[in-house]
């Protein structure tokens, strides 16, 4: 199976601090890959390089054959990488529907003059966009929430809305940054099923940072472990559980002896 995204020798330094050190990494098409590691391992930094928030100090990131390293975030989104945030970053004073519509921004063609004139073509586009946004809300488990303000949604629904908004950008690759953080066990289980459905029904490729090992072991096809900015393991979830370096990184040296 071909790789949708390949990173080679990706490195990020903040001043004298080495956050990510020459990581090689690949995400195969159609799989769910988990990126795990102790706090401060460089997972989110790595994520932010994939999405254009940071420019890598060195290395190449190829997405669907194009080099995306150092491109601005909106351009990367347009190429087909959608993301959610570790700490929810919805547009709080916009309704759920508007949030999803903003996600469609780069897929809508309407220009300034057509918007002012409200041409029939533009009206049609806006109408289909709204219908599609409603479908996405229903698909993400938020039926009937269209007109609610993002900030008034319960926590679990806010997480769902973030995913709906990311899906609205029509991604090929979906990046989820600790999607189940703060969820209760039922919500987590429901979310795990949701991600599995994205893979099977939407044919999406998913990369997620996750701390909940139940989720990681449950749906990942592959697991990559970072520690101190270095990749210390890449393989199947089962192999991961028995790898000495991974156990050492999480539990200390004594645990491996």
């Amino acid at each position: 199976m071909s790789d949708l995204l390949t990173a080679t020798g990706v490195r990020k330094e903040f001043g004298g601090l080495l956050a990510v050190s020459d990581v090689d990494f690949a995400i195969p098409q159609g799989q769910v890959v988990s990126l795990i590691g102790p706090n401060g391992a460089g997972k989110t930094t790595f994520f932010n390089m994939l999405t254009g928030v940071y420019r890598p100090t060195a290395g190449r990131i190829l997405f669907a054959g194009k080099d995306v390293a150092g491109k601005p975030p909106h351009a990367i989104t347009e190429l087909g990488i959608g993301r959610t945030f570790q700490n929810i970053r919805l547009f709080q004073h916009m309704t759920a529907l508007e949030n999803v519509l903003v996600g469609m921004h780069c897929r809508l063609k309407g220009g300034i003059i057509t918007s002012i004139l409200r041409t029939p073509g533009l009206r049609r586009e806006e109408r289909t966009a709204r219908e599609r946004a409603r479908e996405l809300l229903v698909f993400s488990g938020l039926p009937g929430r269209d007109e609610q303000l993002a900030r008034n949604l319960p926590y679990g629904d806010q997480r769902r809305l973030e995913v709906a908004r990311a899906l609205a950008t029509e991604p090929q690759l979906l990046l989820l940054d600790e999607p189940t953080a703060g969820m209760n066990p039922q919500e987590t289980a429901a979310f795990t099923d949701f991600v599995a459905m994205l893979r099977s029904e939407q044919k999406l490729t998913v990369l997620m940072i996750e701390h909940d090992m139940k989720v990681v072991m449950g749906i990942s096809d592959r697991v990559t472990v970072l520690d101190h900015g270095e990749k210390i393991f890449e393989g199947t979830p089962r192999e991961c559980q028995h790898d000495d370096r991974v156990i050492e990184a999480y539990l200390g040296k004594a645990a491996t002896q």
Partner: protein, 399 residues
């Protein structure tokens, strides 16, 4: 098809209600010239009714405030240099509808101007479009380097540009021997609009404003049309894809960018479109006053326009219209009238001397008691009451 008709029918009363008040106001405004004199005839109260000439000035400034609202209200970018666009528009009129460039003689569509006069004389209607496009370009040129900044930093840099442009205008009478702006003297007279004899004969439109007995009335009606055009575009833009992107940027830049909203382009458009309307207003005003002078483009105009936006309610078109008309009125006529009345009552106090102190006090009071403006915009109201969370990317400080 039937379902659609039913839906339209159900919408009709709601739409009618929404449109009733604006329509009534438009009708009142259109007929203002016919009843203004009788209003002004009423004792005491009549003295406070603005004359038609004052109304033109009020409308022009309100139009600029509506333009500024696109930048400040919609996109949330604090622009303290809006006067630059006013100046750019005014000088477009001055260059293309006066005798300033006396070495050339080029006439195109100008009315009420002898054809042997030197200088460039284009039709004012054409100049309004030119001025809009020229300031749009100026907006993009100023916007591209400055809009990378956030918040306070942006405000300071726009303040700088607002100061640079009048200084440039003041000193550009000798650019290597070329007189671009005629320095402190300014450029005058500037041609007035008109539709020419052909259109006048066929459609009954006024041939030349300058030679008409109803000159002020014509300028008033034209200003009204321009204001309505600005409001119309402004509302349509607010409800468009671009309008949504502006709100998204105002709420959370990082998230907006991650959702595929190009930050620079979207912000620059808000800046350029705001400039566009400022330019048209400036060009029209220069034609009305028949002159463009550097002393008109001081920094305090930018603040004055910002006060209109804040008083009315940031982001709310109807609020800004109200705020603009109120402050515009106080500025051109109201304070002077109040001063006269006080004087007649034996109190020796001239409020026009303290005008900026008074506007400042109004804004401070508004901020204390009604920070969302006279007619608040729904979303802004919530933001003011609950705060927005545009914190920097959490993880950037952690890893």
């Amino acid at each position: 098809m039937k379902a659609r008709a039913d839906r339209l029918l159900a919408l009709a009363p709601k739409r009618a209600r929404m449109l009733a008040l604006p329509l009534a106001l438009i009708v009142l405004a259109v007929f203002y010239p016919s009843y203004v004199e009788s209003l002004r005839g009423i004792t005491v109260v009549g003295d406070f009714v603005p004359s038609l000439g004052s109304m033109v000035v009020m409308i022009v400034f309100t139009m600029m405030a509506v333009g500024l609202n696109i930048v400040v209200g919609y996109a949330g970018l604090l622009d303290l240099g809006y006067v630059a666009f006013y100046a750019a528009g005014a000088y477009t009129s001055a260059w293309f509808a006066s005798q300033h460039f006396e070495d050339v003689s080029f006439h195109f569509g100008a009315v009420g101007v002898r054809s042997d006069l030197p200088g460039i004389h284009l039709s004012i209607w054409l100049i309004l479009i030119l001025a809009g496009l020229f300031t749009l370009a100026v907006g993009i040129i100023i916007g591209l380097p400055t809009l990378r900044l956030r918040g306070d930093y942006l405000a300071i840099v726009t303040l700088g540009f607002g100061e640079i442009i009048p200084q440039f205008v003041r000193n550009a009478d000798d650019l290597g021997g070329f007189d671009l702006t005629h320095g402190t003297f300014g450029i005058s007279p500037i041609d007035a609009p008109g539709f020419g004899t052909t259109l006048s004969d066929v459609l009954g439109l006024p041939a030349s404003y300058q030679q008409s007995f109803d000159k002020v009335k014509l300028f008033y009606l034209t200003a009204l049309v321009l204001l309505l055009f600005t409001v119309f575009c402004s509302v349509r833009l607010r409800d468009s894809k671009l309008g949504r992107a502006w709100v998204a940027i105002r709420e959370d830049e990082t998230a907006a960018a991650a959702m595929g909203v190009p930050l620079m382009r979207t912000k620059t458009w808000s800046y350029a479109l705001g400039a566009f309307f400022g330019g048209i207003a400036g060009a029209f005003y220069a034609s009305f006053k028949s002159g463009a002078f550097p002393s008109d483009f001081y920094f305090n105009i930018s603040i004055f326009l910002l006060c209109m936006v804040i008083l009315g309610g940031m982001g709310s078109v109807w609020g800004v219209l109200l705020g603009g008309m109120i402050l515009g009125y106080l500025n051109v006529e109201g304070l002077a009238t109040i001063g006269t009345k006080l004087n007649e009552g034996g109190i020796n106090f001239d409020p026009t001397k303290y005008q900026f102190g008074i506007y400042g006090a109004i804004v401070v009071l508004m901020m204390l008691f009604r920070p969302t403006g006279l007619i608040p915009e729904r979303r802004h109201k919530r933001e003011m009451e609950e705060g927005v969370h545009d914190q920097p990317l959490y993880d950037s400080t952690h890893e």
